[in-house]
């Protein structure tokens, strides 16, 4: 299966500020990918690079095997719903669909009309008078009816109330099944993504902290609590992600593929939220240990 998104050493600089640096990713197709990180972490920059709205300063990125935004075929394969799901306030719902049909060669008018009818939207109503949830659904409808292979959404539910959030995610995931879409969406809240995503990318301070299938991430991260110890004393196959100590106790979050046998530790599993927070919290985060190489 081809990768939906591959990045190698990808970076984007604005003046002297790096919005994204040294980003290496290999995301397989067929996933709903969640991109999480605090505001300003570089999520929008990464998504704009993937959709071809920005060009990289360093490194390279390929999306569905092609360079983003370069040729009509590539544009057809990738749908993009920008931050706050923008619509044209003065255009009616029907005019949005006509515009979508005009701009997108693969436009699926039946799907678009069906969705608008099911949502109970009045085709004659101007987008400016729709509720936030309805506007988001209209933007989503256009993204789906374009019939892309990959749909990228930047913080699509951030401004919505809980019910509208739920309805938006229902529509998005239903479309993912129906049209075999790969989806990449960003949020600064893990709870928005927890049920929906099966692949997660955590971005902090312009860098990818961790990326992988949610199930695998949950299975390989453990919390160890026990008597105070230096992280360097842990087995080498346990990568220490975070460490915190009291005068007597140490608590580590480690990532490892093997079982933890040392009986001094009370081992517990992490929730997805805890896992993400571990990578977000710079006060306890431990930098990866350098790999020791044998000198010849």
């Amino acid at each position: 299966m081809t990768a939906v998104l591959q990045a190698r050493g990808l970076g984007k600089r604005y003046g002297r500020h790096w919005a994204l640096s040294d980003c290496t990713l290999d995301i397989p197709a067929g996933h709903v990918v969640g991109l999480v990180g605090p505001n300003g972490a570089g999520k929008t920059t990464l998504l704009n690079l993937a959709s071809g709205h920005l060009t990289p300063t360093t490194g390279e990125i390929t999306v569905l095997g092609g360079r983003p935004g370069t040729d009509p075929n590539q544009l057809r394969k990738v749908g993009f719903v920008a931050q706050d799901t923008p619509t044209y306030a003065g255009f009616t719902v029907a005019e949005h669909l006509r515009l979508g049909a005009r701009l997108n060669p693969g436009w699926d008018d039946a799907t678009a009309r069906d969705r608008i009818a099911r949502l109970g939207l009045d085709p004659g109503q101007r987008a400016g008078t729709l509720s936030g949830g309805q506007r988001a659904q209209l933007a989503l409808t256009i993204g789906i009816a374009k019939r892309p292979e990959l749909l990228i959404l930047d913080e699509p539910v951030a401004a919505l109330d809980p019910l509208a959030r739920r309805e938006f995610m229902q529509g998005l995931l239903e479309a993912a099944v129906e049209h075999e879409l790969s989806v990449v969406l960003s949020s600064h809240l893990v709870s928005d993504l927890e049920r929906a995503c099966d692949y997660l990318v955590v971005l902090v301070d312009s860098r990818v902290q961790v990326a992988g299938e949610v199930e695998e991430l949950l299975a390989t991260h453990h919390r160890l609590a026990g008597p105070r110890r230096d992280p360097d004393q842990l087995p080498r196959d346990q990568r220490v992600v975070s460490a915190s100590h009291t005068d007597r106790q140490s608590t580590f979050i480690v990532r490892t593929d093997s079982a933890i046998h040392d009986p001094v530790w009370t081992v517990s599993q992490l929730s997805l939220e805890d896992l993400v927070l571990t990578y977000l919290d710079s006060s306890t985060r431990v930098a990866p240990r350098p790999v020791l190489e044998v000198q010849r």
Binding site: V177, A196, D198
Partner: protein
């Protein structure tokens, strides 16, 4: 047809919750052999969960021999879990009710009753395995 629901605080992964709800519905006779499970699309659209979660749950049930997928049609219940034990539910429930009344008369509150039941359940389950 059954309707799935998810409990955020159960501590169980969503996929396991789906598997258990099907088994539970089969045990209670709400799902019988030949009944269709909701399509993946329906479950996803209702619960707003990842499609692979539903697929995984259905594959697990298939692996256990409880359901069978008919390509292009859907997933159907292909076994029965009630196997006559359903008839015993009534009398057992009555006995349990009598026991509960006795426990309350003896001064046990809800939590103590639950704790007593669970510890007894676990020890007797442990003895049967050993």
């Amino acid at each position: 047809m059954i309707e799935f629901h998810l409990d955020e605080r159960s501590g169980l992964s969503p996929y396991l919750q789906l598997v258990r709800q099907v088994r539970q519905a089969m045990r209670l006779g709400l799902l019988r052999e030949g009944d269709q499970l909701p399509t993946v699309k329906d479950v996803v659209a209702r619960l707003a969960i990842n499609p692979n979660t539903v697929l995984k749950a259905y594959r697990e049930l298939e692996h256990e021999g409880l359901v069978a997928a008919r390509p292009g049609v859907g997933t159907f219940v292909s076994a029965t879990l009630t196997d006559g034990s359903l008839a015993a539910h009534g009398p057992l429930r009555q006995e349990l009710r009598r026991w509960l009344a006795k426990a309350r008369r003896a001064g046990l509150d809800e939590e103590s009753i639950e704790a007593l039941f669970l510890t007894t359940f676990r020890t007797s389950a442990g003895e049967e395995i050993a």
